[in-house]
């Protein structure tokens, strides 16, 4: 089985983003960028399936500016076999991404596509589901466990109130939740080896996809700030203040 793993370059998880004073967006100048954490989990899951002998080849895809190549290299250093880089502005919306990925899937014919459930920049949580719809494939989102079962997969999903297991036939889309696995760090020899793995260079036009945004961003603002309140001296003090506030 061939696995396709789309990965996204985003602001590093540990960076506290700042809104630009003119409210045109968040300030990304000189900010550390990394692979989206949910995408890392997706790459790791693909590698584990390969290590179990369930997959032969892992293809990492990224759609984004020139630097998205670094994100593909990270996936290659973790253990993906080759990459496809589709050069585009950073702001391609999930629908545009899903359309490009659909075209790539039709060329590559993977049996499984594993994606992060959401990117931690726009928090849309949509690309995997959209891709599944466009391909007409079943989807298993928010996965915390993926097992081969018969000709398909049993996927345990994190849902409100607990866990749900569904069976999907292949080909299928899986999106990853936090507890699916802990991604490995790439070793130095593997980082060196990754430099020689091939990355195809493409553009949205190669796939005939119009990536014009459907949403116009009017502004990006700071969230309303909460004021720090008071320190209380004792538990008794706390209880009396909560009573006065009318919440007890």
């Amino acid at each position: 089985m061939k696995i396709l793993v789309p990965v996204k370059r985003v602001v590093d998880y540990n960076v506290k983003v700042r809104v630009k004073p003119d409210q045109s967006g968040v300030d990304l100048a000189n900010v550390k960028m990394s692979m989206n954490p949910f995408c890392e989990i997706a790459v790791e899951e693909a590698i584990r399936l390969k290590e179990k002998g369930l997959a032969e080849e892992i293809v990492a895809v990224s759609i984004g500016p020139a630097q998205a190549q670094e994100t593909i290299r990270t996936a290659l250093a973790m253990g993906a076999d080759r990459g496809i880089h589709v050069t585009a502005d950073a702001g391609v919306e999930p629908l545009g991404v899903a359309k490009i990925l659909k075209a790539i899937a039709e060329e590559e014919k993977p049996e499984l596509i594993i994606l992060g459930k959401q990117a931690i920049d726009d928090d849309t949580n949509a690309t995997g589901q959209m891709l599944a719809a466009l391909l007409g494939w079943p989807q298993a989102t928010f996965a915390s466990k993926v097992e081969k079962e018969g000709d398909g997969l049993n996927v345990t999903r994190e849902i409100d109130g607990g866990l749900q297991t569904i069976h999907v036939s292949l080909p299928a889309i899986v999106t990853t939740d936090l507890r699916l696995n802990e991604p490995r760090y790439a070793s130095l020899p593997n980082i060196m080896k990754a430099k020689r793995k091939p990355i195809d260079a493409k553009t949205p036009e190669d796939y005939g996809v119009d990536v014009a945004p459907r949403l116009e961003v009017l502004k990006v603002a700071e969230p309303p700030k909460r004021q720090a309140g008071v320190k209380v001296e004792s538990v008794a003090d706390l209880v009396s203040k909560l009573k006065n506030a009318g919440v007890l």
């Binding site: 983003v17 629908l95 719809a133 109130g161 297991t165 949403l215 961003v217 990006v220 909460r226 209880v239």
Partner: protein, 313 residues
């Protein structure tokens, strides 16, 4: 103009998150229809018909819709999507699962997790785990939207909508439900509780959550946890409050042994009153807390239970 709201429910009762989505639909304007898709979910359809502002309830009932898997929901909603200018669902794991599928098939953008309706085509939504709020204007003729349940008032009862039956789709061959393990608890559900008390890494172990549970039982509160406590294996994942867990906005939120990582704050900072109990007075949680108590939680929490007892709880 008309708006479709897809109801969240468990086939027995209507989830309150649906009420928030109905309120958002009212702000967009036009006739509001509610779709109840499920199995033996007549009671839910009847509850939806009583919601304020709802004109029609569409009820589709079949085995295929029992767990509202995304493939079946896509087929069902696409059959009626033509009639609507906007399609809304609460941003629960259910809505987040099937709504982008519908958006893709309609060739429109997914507008996720809105916190405000500025105009029928303009919405505010959080990005970067709530560290920024983005206002977007949709250029699509049809809008597909999920609604953050905590930021909209919950529509009340007072309506009497007509209930129409809708043909249910055949089950999708490519996906099927296997099993579910839902947490059983006598306490209220996190997303709906008026009071939430959460523990963090400072709890030290799962057993230690017992002291929090005692307070929760006195107050009729739900018990939550930070991602750190969940990742440490103290409590199951469905306890998690935060950007990647549940977003809550109760009347009173008590954070115990939680430092206040951005991830966690994103999930609870809209609570009306926040209390923090932490021994580290530098902990960021104190910057958002209305009442902060710098104390050893293993002393303070049992004392809180005792004080609540004295106060008649």
């Amino acid at each position: 103009m008309s708006v479709l709201v897809i109801a969240e429910h468990d086939n027995a009762s209507l989830n309150d998150a649906t009420r928030a989505a109905v309120t958002a639909a009212g702000q967009i304007g036009g006739d509001i229809h509610v779709l109840v898709a499920g199995k033996d979910a007549k009671a839910v359809a009847e509850a939806a018909a009583k919601l304020d502002g709802v004109k029609t309830v569409l009820h589709a009932d079949s085995d295929a819709l029992d767990k509202r898997l995304a493939e079946a929901m896509e087929t069902l909603v696409l059959k009626i999507a033509d009639k609507y200018d906007a399609i809304l669902a609460p941003a629960t794991t259910g809505g987040k699962n099937f709504m982008p599928r519908i958006a893709a098939k309609l060739d429109v953008a997914m507008i996720s997790d809105i916190t405000s309706v500025e105009a029928p085509d303009t919405f505010v939504r959080p990005i970067y785990a709530g560290n920024a709020m983005m206002t977007v204007k949709s250029k699509d003729a049809k809008k597909v939207i999920t609604v953050r349940p905590t930021t909209f008032e919950k529509a009340g009862d007072g309506g009497s909508a007509a209930i129409e039956t809708l043909d249910a789709p055949a089950p999708a061959a490519s996906s099927k439900f296997v099993r579910e393990e839902l947490s059983k608890s006598d306490r209220p559900e996190l997303a709906q509780a008026k009071i939430v008390i959460s523990g963090g890494r400072g709890m030290g172990s799962g057993e230690n959550f017992a002291i929090i549970e005692k307070v929760a039982d006195k107050l009729g509160a739900a018990v939550g946890a930070s991602r750190a406590a969940v990742d440490a294996g103290f409590v199951p994942n469905d306890y998690q409050v935060g950007q990647t867990g549940k977003v809550v906005a109760p009347e009173l939120y008590i954070a115990v042994g939680i430092s206040g990582a951005i991830q966690h704050l994103a999930g609870m900072k809209d609570s009306k009153v926040i209390v923090a109990i932490n021994k580290d007075e530098e902990a960021p949680i104190f910057q958002v807390a209305d009442y902060g108590l710098v104390a050893d939680l293993f002393k303070a929490v049992p004392e809180l239970e005792e004080e609540l007892g004295k106060a008649g709880y």
